[in-house]
């Protein structure tokens, strides 16, 4: 029973980290109606950006993550403007395939620049806390706490600010938004900046949790996508719920299958959701 509780705790903590890039992916889908598979490599870019700022420039963790947000948001916007938006007339599938290509290019640029070695943030080592036979790392709790604060900030932005509500309106009905003076194109670009920036921060958080390498984000692409699909593509609360469930599912699966097959949870989830409940847990887009 202790193993199960431990797996649930680990799953929630991991899920909180997956939730940030999943929110980014689903926000972009809600407004632009395509799945940006470059999210994995953008997360890696954020992880390396934060790592550079932390270990080379000597920035503390939080400013390093803010730097990662800005850098990856700028990169995401540049990619959208230079490549993806030009392909939109050819349909969502074409844009999604192009985003895979962009992801591969980014990943190889990182490999070229940093090599394949594992890198770690400059953080003090701390002993795990133990209680009732369970174990939790202080660093894990800190990164999960930052992830929760980011989620709360994104929810507050979308729910209480005029621009956040406009983003939700454009995601709901772009034609109607135009009739009330909202600029769907400008709002879409702001959403891309927000979504990719969040992905960059998500990558940085995952870097805090473990070491990073140029493949870190790509390995997470499947659980991130599965989380967004499970929650309902286009739904921000859905992405968070989906990420927590995927995190728990992956950790529980380790009790019965070898770690090598852990990614089966994401595959299976996507297969089941698309087969039986294509709208996901939260039904329709409700960013």
């Amino acid at each position: 029973m202790t193993d199960i509780f431990q797996a649930v705790i680990n799953g929630v903590l991991t899920g909180a980290l997956i939730a940030i890039p999943a929110m980014g992916l689903t926000a972009i889908f809600a407004v632009l109606r395509y799945v940006n598979f470059a999210i994995g490599s953008l997360a890696t870019t954020g992880a390396f950006a934060a790592w550079m700022l932390n270990t080379h420039a000597g920035w503390p963790v939080l400013p390093s993550m803010a730097g990662a947000f800005v850098l990856v948001a700028a990169a995401g916007l540049a990619i959208e403007q230079a490549a993806l938006s030009r392909l939109r007339p050819s349909g969502a599938l074409t844009v999604a395939i192009a985003s895979i290509a962009v992801g591969i290019i980014l990943e190889n640029m990182l490999r070229f620049g940093f090599g394949n070695d594992l890198r770690a943030f400059d953080l003090p080592l701390m002993r795990d806390w133990r209680f009732w036979g369970l174990r939790v790392g202080p660093q894990q709790l800190q990164t999960a706490g930052i992830a929760l604060a980011i989620m709360a900030a994104v929810f507050a932005f979308l729910r209480f600010t005029r621009y956040g509500k406009a983003m939700r309106a454009v995601a709901d009905n772009p034609d109607l938004a135009r009739l009330f003076g909202m600029e769907p194109r400008r709002i879409a670009m702001a959403t891309v900046a927000l979504g990719t920036g969040l992905t960059g921060v998500g990558g940085a958080l995952l870097g805090l949790d473990s070491a990073i390498d140029p493949m870190s984000g790509s390995r997470l692409l499947l659980p991130i996508f599965a989380a967004a699909v499970l929650g309902g593509l286009g739904s921000i609360p859905g992405a968070v719920a989906g990420a927590i469930l995927i995190g728990i599912g992956e950790e529980l699966s380790l009790l019965v299958i070898p770690a090598t097959y852990r990614s089966a949870v994401g595959f299976l989830t996507i297969l089941l959701v698309l087969s039986f409940r294509p709208g996901g847990l939260f039904g329709e887009r409700a960013a």
Binding site: R162, K165, A166, R168, A169, A171, D172, N173, D175, L176, A177, R178, L179, F180, G181, M182, E183, E284, R285, A286, A287
Partner: protein, 233 residues
């Protein structure tokens, strides 16, 4: 107030839907467009609002040419368009819908919303409800209220009573007549053509994307030929 002259328009790669339509709406007038399905009535409103581009012709608001302006620019210029369907943000609350209706002019929003709640108490009661949970009639009233919050110079209504119960239809007609009495110019497409023409200053009959007839609303409603051909009477 609104002058539409020789409008030619259609959807991408399809044939022209509008083939030279001309319509005028004067200050304080309620003008109704009637005609068979496929005549181009709804397309005309979409072109006037800027959602569909005009290929030829002109759209003038208060004498100013807005033909090449985007829907966003036209909304800021004073057009308000209540579409037949998907005319509210379903995943947002009633209060949020009303707030976003003030997006182009975000001043005195609380007072403007309060006046809407006074005029339409049903919206005040439902202010926290998601718009998609409203009944058909309530949704149309919300859509109308959102249009009013933009303080428009010209209101375009596309079949505002479509799909409503007889009681809700009657209530919505009252709302439209109330707006007309306030002096707001309205160009309306309405499925209850006879009733709409009877309360309209003028009416236009469109057939296959062209002007087939025009005149005073009650006169058109009483014309036996028009009634036989288009109004089922």
């Amino acid at each position: 107030m609104l002058e539409v002259a020789g409008l030619v328009a259609g959807y991408a790669s399809a044939e022209q839907i509008l083939k030279g339509v001309s319509v005028e709406v004067g200050a304080g007038e309620l003008v109704t467009l009637v005609g068979p399905n496929g005549a181009g009535k709804s397309t005309l409103l979409k072109v006037v609002s800027g959602l569909v581009p005009a290929r030829e012709g002109q759209v003038l608001l208060e004498g100013r040419d807005v033909t090449r302006q985007s829907a966003v620019e036209r909304a800021r210029a004073g057009f308000a368009f209540v579409m037949q369907e998907k005319n509210v943000f379903g995943t947002l609350s009633v209060a949020e819908n009303l707030e976003l209706a003030c997006y182009a002019r975000p001043v005195e929003m609380a007072a403007r919303r309060a006046s809407i709640y006074d005029r339409y108490p049903v919206l005040a009661d439902k202010r926290r409800a998601l718009a998609r949970t409203l009944s058909g009639g309530q949704r149309q009233i919300l859509a109308m209220a959102m249009a009013l919050l933009t303080e428009p110079k010209m209101l375009l209504l596309d079949e505002p009573t479509a799909g409503l119960s007889p009681k809700a239809t009657e209530e919505l007609f009252e709302v439209v007549l109330g707006l007309r009495d306030l002096g707001l110019p309205i160009l309306m497409v309405e499925q209850h053509a006879l009733e709409a023409l009877e309360v309209s200053s003028r009416g236009y009959v469109l057939v296959s994307g062209t002007n087939a007839a025009e005149g005073e609303g009650p006169a058109l409603a009483a014309d036996p030929e028009i009634r036989r051909l288009f109004l089922g009477g």
